[in-house]
Symmetry: D2
């Protein structure tokens, strides 16, 4: 969806005296999944209060404003949202809160609904009012529909209407319900804190952050309930009837190295990718260096497999936030260099293997290669931990347009190599990548490389019709 909330992070916790602070810390640890906006909704058992704001968690809930203190209640959910270029709408920040006949409800969503526009048109015809341009709001409208409320499992009934990817956390005044789409496209796991309260999170790193124990993943097609009886579960899709479509790009790019998703540790998968790269694309060289920090795991794997020494050719600055927009191109080039400084002595006169996790547009990669050349690297061999991205994602990854994708701008590996000005270039093969993960190859979605979409793309037309709504509402921009 143009709204691009793809790799958001979500969290929920029930019955913890420190619930709101834990949500704060959990969102902090999930910050890599989205920096555009952050929000927390909390219930005292009867009333839900919600606070959302633009920017990173530490800014939205910055000390001295008393927001966490005012939210302080034992049931809480939270959300961090992906940062997109262009306009950022406060009205799209989550959790999304509303009131219907059963009282208040708040929801946090990670994923992308491809039939949102279709459903929205339908509900507007029923007389419903929409307040935002995001595809999450339609879920609340489905939940409020009187005929849905009489079903044996109203929430399960509603989820069956949704097409696309969704890991969802709902906050009702007295409980949390968390659900994952039948394909398990985005991750969602369950943990238990030291004082016995249950929580759910996009990645296990959020459990680590609050010293919670990992219990298990929420299963595809499952709804788990966190309430005063503890943890309970039900399925809205018969288990085993759908082959999963876990987004393999989560392993390659989105998830934090310390997290485990889809049953295994992200860092280890990436190290295996590095090893596989060394086998698929060997080259004689003096040193293996990562593009930090995204390429570090794969570079370690490559170095270990190849026996070529690992070293630190780039130093990443910890102080680069927004850089000043300089009037001249020369000055803009400088701004880029501030983020990654080259250790000249590591690369000067050397044959250097550079490892990164992925190449999307290619422009920043090209800049980094240029820095290495200027520092005197004799040969540069680029190795990439995932295949060339060629196709759009309809399930929540915000790739550039087909036109902007480097792999679509050129006709061959050779052209990419020339564009990047490297001596050799090697991408891991799709087969190789799938081998690095432990589940059967057909349990992952890899449409962005293969073009094989597991959810029928005929509905995708609706994706674009949603843009009609998205252009419209503009509410409370913070600049």
């Amino acid at each position: 969806m143009a709204d691009k909330k793809e790799a958001c992070g979500i969290f929920g916790i029930y019955g913890d005296s420190d619930a709101v602070h834990k949500a704060y810390f959990a969102l902090h640890s999930l910050q890599h999944r989205g920096q555009e906006s952050a929000g927390i909704a909390a219930s005292d058992g009867e009333t839900i209060h919600c606070y959302t704001g633009m920017g990173q968690v530490s800014r939205v809930f910055r000390e001295g404003r008393g927001i966490l203190e005012r939210l302080n209640n034992p049931i809480a959910i939270g959300h961090v949202r992906y940062s997109t270029s262009g306009s950022s709408h406060l009205s799209n920040a989550q959790p999304f809160i509303g009131e219907y006949s059963r009282g208040q409800v708040a929801v946090a969503h990670n994923g992308n609904l491809i039939n949102a526009s279709l459903l929205r048109d339908e509900y507007e015809a029923y007389g419903h009012i929409f307040k935002s341009s995001n595809d999450t709001e339609i879920i609340l409208h489905l939940m409020a529909k009187p005929t849905h409320l009489t079903k044996p499992d109203p929430l399960g009934h509603v989820l069956n209407h949704l097409q696309g990817s969704y890991s969802l956390v709902f906050l009702f005044s007295d409980r949390i319900e968390a659900a994952r789409d039948p394909y398990g496209i985005r991750p969602l796991c369950i943990g238990r804190t030291v004082n016995g309260s249950y929580c759910v999170a996009s990645e296990t790193c959020a459990l680590d952050a609050i010293a919670a124990e990992y219990i298990r993943d929420v299963e595809p097609g499952e709804i788990v309930t966190l309430d005063q009886k503890g943890l309970s579960s039900r399925f809205f899709v018969t288990p085993g009837t759908v082959i999963p479509a876990h987004c393999i790009f989560e392993h390659v790019y989105f998830a934090k190295q310390s997290s485990s998703i889809f049953g295994e540790n992200v860092h280890q998968v990436r190290v295996r990718c590095g090893r596989r790269l060394a086998i698929e694309h060997p080259v004689e060289a003096d040193v293996v260096i990562p593009v930090p920090d995204s390429g570090t795991s794969a570079a370690i794997g490559y170095a270990n497999e190849s026996g070529i020494p690992f070293d630190m050719g780039f130093v990443r600055s910890h102080y680069v936030g927004r850089t000043f927009i300089s009037p001249s191109q020369h000055m803009r080039d400088i701004a880029v260099k501030l983020k990654l400084a080259v250790v000249r002595q590591v690369v000067e006169g050397k044959r250097v293997i550079v490892v990164d996790d992925s190449i999307v547009r290619g422009t920043t990669t090209k800049g980094k290669i240029k820095s290495l050349r200027e520092a005197g690297a004799k040969e540069i061999h680029m190795r990439v931990g995932c295949p060339p991205v060629k196709c759009p994602c309809f399930y929540g990854v915000d790739f550039p347009t087909r036109e902007e994708l480097l792999a679509n701008q050129v006709n061959s590996m050779e052209e990419i190599r020339q564009y990047l000005q490297v001596d050799t270039l090697g991408y891991i093969s799709l087969e190789g990548l799938l081998n690095c993960a432990s589940l059967p190859a057909d349990h992952y979605c890899h449409a962005c490389w293969s073009g094989q979409y597991k959810i029928p793309v005929s509905t995708v037309v609706n994706k674009f019709s949603m843009e009609r709504h998205q252009k419209r509402l503009f509410d409370g921009i913070e600049t």
Copy 2:
């Protein structure tokens, strides 16, 4: 309604190349009607954009943020909201914007709907989702109802469902519609700018601010449309079938002295009140001084009628915003003095008549009297331009609770006089006040003094049930 949006200010303008800047200036001139939040929604003919924020107009749209520039379009409405003690919710700021089957709509509301809660319960039962705690949102839900959309005049049909006070400005993508409740409780007037575009505003001072000519008031029960055909009108209540109930407190307190409302100038009504006071409550004295600026008009009237010289006993500071909260009571007393400095030489050894427009709680009045005594006033005679407020308002004035009203805390005029520590005390009579305005006495609402409610109060129970909703939603507090 607990939500207290009583004396808000609204504005709308169609087809002006400077529409958004004019809305900005018009809201600025209506700032006395509300400082809690401000907002503008504007349409380019197809899409509506909206921006709202907490605080005064000049802060919300402060220069350098580019907000007016981004909103810049030829059709615009705006709103300023009354500042209440306690929590201020960004989600309650207006214009309120939503999307329904007919596209986008934004609304700005001045008034109070006493059947909002009743309607909200009904629409929640239909499956509707509410995003705010204010009573304005229900209007959009009524408008979106499919059966309403098929009526000959859907908007007029909807307005007939509403009970209470409402001056409303609707922004559709291609037009503005403005309406006033059948009793004409709150003011709303029509103007025309120098370049011929039509506009509507709560008070004529907004027309003056943008150099627009006053055309006429929107009539009670009338809807006017501002679109490319110019100005057109229709009635949703048969004209002449309802006796008006103009809020006389608008003349006494809310409206700006330079405005004309309900057919006459506010300053002149207040001068007449001062004259009447001099007749009803004469006293021998040396000087007449106003509590500036609210009491200035009445003081001029009193001085002119009595022949006792008018003078400036208090100087109002232009720099007192929020004063620092001092730890000691002594320091807090000082803070109060900063707002009104006494000109000792005007009152020392004199018999002083002090004129103010109204006394509500009485605490600040008492402080001012004390300052005069300390400056050496020999006698102090308090004269008040409206009768003692005794009853709650259900149509949009945010009085304190019955318990906090000074006139309810004491049993007699004598007790009030002793509390304020003045030598004599005189309130204008209700009859006298009504004589100072030009319309027949039964064309005004004076329930706050008389307890005679023109709209049946049986529905008022719903007012309190609305508090159920109001306690709940908490979204985007700015502190």
Copy 3:
């Protein structure tokens, strides 16, 4: 001096447990004397701490930052600085603090030293370093000079080197010393708080604000010391040897109406000016209206003397802070109107006398007259409470350049009248003005009208050489 700190406000208090809060409130009440910057320095008896910032007092010391709490000590001085167009330098904010061989000292200055540049050149030749562009810093350098320190009264010795106007408050770690130049050009008074501590302030309104009793003025050529022995006094110029030169413009324009300066109440002097105007420039008319609030006192005087009714033709907005800079001239005209709304019914079809305290540039006056015409005034008679300003002030009033002064742009009253587009125009005569104040006419400085400078202007050349320094230092601008 180009630095333009002319009508600043100063305050000092010794030995009060609430000294810093009282300084805060006193500065608040002196805010009309300067809004560019504010600062407070306080001593615990050994160490001085100082905080200065750009903007109004309530902004600089806004709640929640804990500044007053951290400064909290029993000896304090404060300063508010005149707002000038163009650049505002934090390094010029006062109190100005430094350390020399006798320890720390802080100083707050109201006035203008005309030999500052001469002295600065001399001290730079001694090897001194200057940190600011204002003329106050030189005073500290004179105080630090070793040969000055051995004099019987080092401070009195230093003050004898200064030429120009100065009301000064010095904070030493254990005492306050306050001094006034031998001509008594700027005001400075002494008060005593309810708990017996002494204080000094630019105007008596600051004493009123903190409930302090007025004791007397600091005499021209006097130094008063506030320390643990109470109040003591000495003279650095033999009393009676210099004829005073009190700035009459303080009465006309700078000081607050509730203050008493140079021995009498400001409001009353202005009322007398109004009466005198009615005698010097009578005219048949229907109503007398002030330009609020500056012209209110004189308008009351004019109305009382002439017998023509006083009324409120303009309503001043309390919400106009910085107005948005609009792209078009038409919109800028609107912005001006927001500050003063015309009460049409007061002036329509009437012969109106408009009274203001002064006309400097004339542009804003012209705008106000235009508003009255548009509202239908039949005749407009402008009356001004001071003569036309024709000459520059070297003692601390920041007039526009000679070229910008309206009275210098035209050759005759008739030309001014035509420029303002009024039917008749009357300025009070200089003789008339001086008669409205109680001291002998030669006890006032009126050089801005008469060109008669009481301090020899040969030294004035240095004024302009100071600009060399003023252009240079740029430190810590806040925007």
Copy 4:
């Protein structure tokens, strides 16, 4: 010095059309040397303008405020200041600017003058005024002294009065002069930009950031001048007469890995330290992990030397700014974990060698060890790239007090090991560390480990007397 400006970063550039933007980017790349305040002073050839502010470079000069644009001139210097706990004074921010008989001068200083207080007392006796509590201000006073101005090389003459460490950049209106103390304690290098202008910087990473070529270091005891004739040099101490005392802690801790200082690359020195550690403190283990990013270089060295695989056991968060202060200890522990997440799969059941560059207080190290234990590490072997810090630094490193230093709180390595709860503990030896750097061992200062001070410590008493001044001045705190 209590003022703790130890590891500041300085920069200067002459004759570049982009001088101010280059200063901005250079300071950005030196941000690791100080985050408390930042400032830039620039000259147009005649007048110097200066802007300083609290916080990081990107905040002080954040876009939209137009500061860089207003400073824009071809000669510029800049400074970033070390962040200390406790109070931060804007009056101490640099560049420090003043005016004396030769005109304006601004200075940026990295280092610590141990005779500053002695000199300040002397100059106060001459009648000088000081405006700040930092030791840099005295340099300007020495420069302004008339007898110094007549010397053949006034600046060289002045520098000979200074004792302690200093790398200095002076901005005069028409040139830059840069100097380094005779011991060369802090680094300072010279570069040339692509358009031929010369610049000086604390570290070569600043040259890399602006694409400038490294020319050479400023020599100990040398002054270099950057003016329209290009680069020229002179010595104020006869070269070769003083044995250098380069701060070896710059290599261990302060400098960026990509920089070269004292003639060699920082990363490479640290890698060698890691190798040396593996020789001095071998142990059987499964994996070597760094504490990122400070320990990464040494960990690579240790892994390479020992043959034990390098891996990533910690993942550093890029989003942790200020963390929220939680009410409970449990929550505070969580906050620490957010900065470094453990990759459980890398350490679980393993014998882990953890490498860091230094241990100062020991508390955060202890927390990291605890995280590893909780993640299931079987054995933990701590290796540290520098010896235990035992003595205070008088030349500019801000160590904790002797009492807070871990190595002084315990009596033996064994006690430190027990405190940290590691299985084995190994610090590199001082001899080993000095061997890892290329210059002769006696060319470095290692007093913090050895207690051997190269500049006589008798003057150090003055260091503490300076605190008298430092307590006093408090000006313009930003909170």
